[in-house]
Amino acid sequence: MSVKEEKRKEQSKKRGEKDPGIAPRSRAEWVSLLVALLLLALVVGTVVAIWLDPSAVPARFRVARGAVRVEGELFYLPVVVSNDGDATGAQVTVTGKLEADGEEEEASTTFDFVPGHSQVEGSLIFGSDPVSADVRVTSYQKP
């Protein structure tokens, strides 16, 4: 034991403190240790349960369209992209295609990540009313 440690021990003895290395845990310490162990068991148990779950469905996207909003001469089409799979999709690109006056118009947006069982929101902006637009996820990457 170093001189410093001995000195510290002596000082704490003088103050009537028990050596924390030897003294039994107080009730407060037992309670916080128990709560901590329960919390850790919950976290580790959840991670192990996810690991053992065999349903590793790849990313699977669904696009829901919201109500069109008109701003000036432009039409804003809100989209909600849901990933019904278990795996995360990265760089998820949503593209909307619209035939108007014989011309094809295209709008797209890219989301950095759409984790499994999660939703992200964005908007596609068109020059014509996108009521008949075809909107779908056109690409994604495995992170």
Binding site: S12, R15, E17, D19, P20, G21, I22, R25, S26, R27, A28, E29, V31, S32, L33, V35, A36, L37, L39, L40, V43, V44, T46, V47, V48, I50, W51, D86, A87, T88, A90, D112, F113, P115, G116, H117, S118, Q119, P143
Partner: protein, 294 residues
């Protein structure tokens, strides 16, 4: 055991746990505002999560050998192992709380993603818990703190000049907040986090910032706390100090964002307010650390 001893045991345990929380946030705040850490959590596999938890636990055991978060350093092995488990639990709870607070965890997301983000963020938080009592603890010892207290003359000398004390505290707050803000303000995390938060949630964030600042300086018994409790000056009532330093931290947050052109004079007021409150959280943690450290 007498009643007063039992009360003091509970009080000491609460203080120790608050010190662990303070350490976690002091070290973890810059990692909390790093989107790459959240993103890694998006695709962390369960075995990797278990490895991260094990690595955090081993680090805590190593740090508990000569530090940890308790005032009374554990020396017996069963204490060290138990304290490390408690430290890891505190880190996980703090990481989960802070990720919910900044809107990175939402309850409509998949469990794997939520666990991944919490576990990855808990790794730096664990290091913070492990070095909590090393943070500036020496100042109290060197200053003759602890049970011995300061030499009376020195204490009076210091407290007789309230203005000097106030300016010193304000300066330390500004310095601590500036250090943290300069590393976070130029990044894209601020607009990203602010965009996802509603106005009522911003109020929750203000409350959390004040609470954390209070915990770090007045509850965690870090650094020069015993000296601080005897000081006079505008900053020296716990509530007024917490409020004044929060306002100063907000000012520093705003100025650093302006410096890095994250906010411009033409931007709407709501953007100023939202961004400032979002950066105000790590700023006030830095400010509190500055007051404890300097």
């Amino acid at each position: 055991m007498s009643k007063s001893e039992a009360v003091s045991d509970w009080h000491r345990e609460l203080n120790d746990l608050m010190r662990a929380v303070a350490g976690a946030f002091l070290f973890g705040a810059p990692f909390l505002y790093t989107m790459e850490v959240w993103w890694k959590g998006n695709f962390t596999s369960p075995p990797r999560m278990l490895f991260a938890l094990a690595a955090a636990y081993v680090s805590l055991v190593a740090l508990n050998l000569n530090g940890g978060f308790r005032t009374r350093q554990p020396r017996a092995w069963n204490r060290i192992l138990g304290d490390s488990a408690e430290g890891l639990a505190v880190a996980l709870a703090s990481a989960a709380f802070s990720l919910v607070l900044i809107g990175i965890i939402r309850f409509n997301e998949g469990l794997e993603v939520i666990m991944g983000r919490i576990v990855m963020e808990a790794v730096p938080f664990s290091i913070g818990v492990g070095i909590a009592s090393n943070f500036l603890k020496k100042q109290d010892e060197e200053g003759g703190g602890g049970s011995d207290g300061l030499p009376e003359e020195r204490a009076q000398d210091w407290s007789s000049d309230a203005w000097r004390g106030t300016l010193a505290d304000a300066g330390s707050t500004v310095l601590g907040a500036t250090i943290i803000c300069s590393s976070i303000a130029p990044t894209d995390e601020i607009p990203m986090i602010a965009a996802g938060l509603s106005s009522p949630w911003l109020l929750v964030m203000i409350g959390a910032s004040l609470l954390l600042s209070y915990i770090i300086v007045f509850e965690a018994d870090l650094g020069s706390q015993s000296r601080r409790m005897t000081q006079t000056g505008i900053f020296q009532s716990p509530i007024s100090e917490t409020l004044a330093s929060y306002l100063l931290s907000l000012l520093v947050a705003f100025l650093t964002m302006w410096l890095f052109q994250l906010v411009r004079v033409d931007d709407p007021l709501s953007q100023w307010v939202n961004y400032t409150i979002v950066l105000g959280l790590p700023a006030t943690i830095g400010g509190a650390a500055g007051r404890v450290a300097l």
